[in-house]
Subunit: 152 residues, 2 copies
Amino acid sequence: MISNKAKYAFRALLAVAAAPEGESLTSAEIARRYNIPHKFLEQILLDLKKAGILDSRRGKSGGYVMLRPADTISFGEVLRIFEGPLAPLPCLSRQSYRRCEDCVSEATCEIRREFGRAYDASRQVLDSRTIGDALADSPYGGNAGQERRLVG
Amino acid sequence: MISNKAKYAFRALLAVAAAPEGESLTSAEIARRYNIPHKFLEQILLDLKKAGILDSRRGKSGGYVMLRPADTISFGEVLRIFEGPLAPLPCLSRQSYRRCEDCVSEATCEIRREFGRAYDASRQVLDSRTIGDALADSPYGGNAGQERRLVG
DNA sequence: CTTTATCTCTACCTGTTAAATAGGGATATG
DNA sequence: CATATCCCTATTTAACAGGTAGAGATAAAG
């Protein structure tokens, strides 16, 4: 299971990305809309800002906007911000490789091989699908991060 | 990352499954071979027994043997014993479904949809690949759970 | 029938993390 | 200058990971 923190981050990102071009969204509004504890959400939005994904405006009529286009932000990237490495085994992580204490030979390790396959399969999805894709595929057809399509 | 507990369980299972037909393997031997804390491993082996995967013999010259053939035991099944549901979101778990508090509409939830894809991809691997498969594909060509192949 | 090697069971311990909660400080707008 | 917002840090509570510890049950060997 992914953490609530990560899930709230996706909610927030999708909401900000789906907002009309140029309009900002406040943490309070997002929290209300999705029933997320407000102060907790603030921390999360701050993390997204520090990661260079969101930008913010302070003061009255402040709020959050996308800093990068939604279709350049993959689910994998966001997940890694909040969950750390996605690899199921330390020896499978490119970013933060660590040897397994109980491993006799990495090259022949069956566990590593099988989980490597599972990891590849899941990464294929998470690192290719973006926030923009998710909105575009949405029933309501959000269109953040790309040109507007004519509907009808 | 999967827990050490689960990883140790796979080590143990693969070792027992790879043992010559009819021979049992002691927890001490497995612990020594893979540098796993012995008492911790004992708990794990007990869990595998309670799950109906391993059988055990007590007393001198005791040890563990497979209760079911290795090629009927998927990585997913074992993982679920030690990690609980594999679904990345509670609303994606068939076995222990739970609604997300912050979800407005499950049918249109972009998070659910995207993680559903990732989950499907990873489950495709974990629920189809078995301990027996993993040994068969091994460089050294273990052959537990199926007829012996001639190596020439 | 005693010793010894094994599995079985239960309790406990320590550090880390999840999931908030709390309380203010900084800043922009009206 | 009042208010609404974002910004930052500390604290709390519960659960969980990853063991450690000690004793009991059982079976084989001598």
